[in-house]
Symmetry: C2
């Protein structure tokens, strides 16, 4: 059994002050993928960095205080890869891949974008380059007889059931037609599987992100943008998928909730 969690922490220093450390010491996960760490290795609070029994790798952004992904694992990874071979994005703290026995686990933080701005162009450049990488990664995994799961904040809600107010958000970055179609291609053309949706085909939700503005969390006006996107064999091995909304409810240390999947591998 391998339990993997993904969580966008929205600043690991702030999260550590608000309950992330307690969540980490309670979790039974074997691997934790983090996004928006917003800190270098040295800036990660020692209560997180030196927590007993965990191995931590951080891929910070060159731009101070922005983005940043990390992987915590109980086993030491056999291989670590920062970035996916992109000149533009490999220093942006958005992709970190580690090899654990039989399975490659990646932490992804896809740009959030902003409709009609250069930030949306950047998101689309990322999506185009990353889709190519996903193809190569899948081929490599098949050749090596390895499973792959890309965990993280993909910043796209795939279907109408993946956000509460889909009608109001048809022109909002994260639910644009071209973004949704891109995710469809990841599934249907490249061959990855949305693990949580496969286990729970019925919507709406469960959501994994709620804006801090207004009463979005209390009203469950959220989006499902945090995914486990896995190769088919691993997706079929998934036994449970849970959004730990309660974990964040007791002590809300991020605007995202952890998404945890247990794989029978």
């Amino acid at each position: 059994m391998l339990t993997v969690t993904t969580a966008n922490v929205n600043g690991i220093r702030a999260a550590a002050r608000k309950g992330f450390v307690e969540w980490l010491s309670d979790t039974t996960a074997d691997v934790v993928c983090l996004q928006e760490v917003r800190a270098t290795d040295e800036q990660v609070p020692v209560e997180v960095r030196d927590v007993d029994g965990w191995h931590m790798i951080v891929a910070p952004a060159a731009d101070k205080g922005r983005a940043g992904v990390a992987v915590l694992s109980r086993e030491t990874p056999a291989r670590v890869q920062v970035g996916f071979g992109s000149e533009e994005f490999d220093v942006s703290g958005r992709y970190l891949e580690v090899d654990l026995p039989g399975v490659t686990v990646a932490s992804l933080y896809l740009p959030s974008g902003e409709t009609g701005t250069p930030r949306q162009d950047q998101k689309e450049r990322f999506m185009a380059e990353f889709a190519e990488y996903l193809v190569a990664l899948r081929k490599r995994a098949e050749a090596d007889n390895r499973h792959v799961v890309i965990c993280g904040d993909w910043n796209i809600a795939h279907q109408e059931i993946d956000l509460k107010n889909w009608k109001a958000n048809k022109k909002t970055a994260g639910f644009l037609p071209e973004e949704r179609e891109w995710m469809t291609r990841v599934f249907d053309d490249i061959g990855y599987v949305d693990v949580a949706r496969r286990l729970h085909p019925e919507g709406p939700g469960p959501y994994s992100w709620w804006s801090y503005r207004g009463r979005a969390f209390d009203n469950d006006a959220g989006w499902r943008i945090d995914y486990h996107i896995a190769t088919p064999g691993l997706a079929e091995a998934a036994k449970t998928a849970v959004v730990e909304r309660a974990a964040t409810h007791d002590a809300r240390w991020s605007d995202h909730a952890p998404v945890t999947v247990t794989y029978a591998v």
Copy 2:
């Protein structure tokens, strides 16, 4: 009897969250001079701006979130003056003068400076221009038969007894020889009086500012840089001068403590 308090609030919005509102509702002062308000009129929390029985005038800096002085008085001032006739400094939120019956009260926030930098040059330009104004103000007050007191953060410790570690700070802005000599000229040549020191000639202290760094407050490693500087007649009428260290100890809402003087006028 006229009781006047001066307090550098280090951001009135932060201070209001931390206990300044309670301090204000408890004080028996008739006039309160504030420095480092760091807010425009509209940005001042309503609990302060609309507090019953007080009239408030704010002189913010053109530079958002910086400096800013204010005067709260139970009586409506007959005259209000922002700045002291300086092209450079009148928009810098550092001087506000009001006329109350028989006495002119000013709130001053002198630049803090920084040894060997342009900020120290600015402080010295301010000191030069302001000294000239002090001469004119004293003459005008005598002609009008009015008392004057300039309350505020002068950002200079005058003597060795005015800071805990004077030996270590001989090259620190706020205790430079030229700054101390300038204050001596304000007293000996221009004829103003350091009210609190006149009532309490013995040092060391009492200090009115303690750095937030380290344990400066607990160790009373402070500076006396907040003064009531008055014309001689008013200084002679001063009955008590108190640094409200306890007020800030119960709920420390600033790195400065209020300095309160009661005048028998």
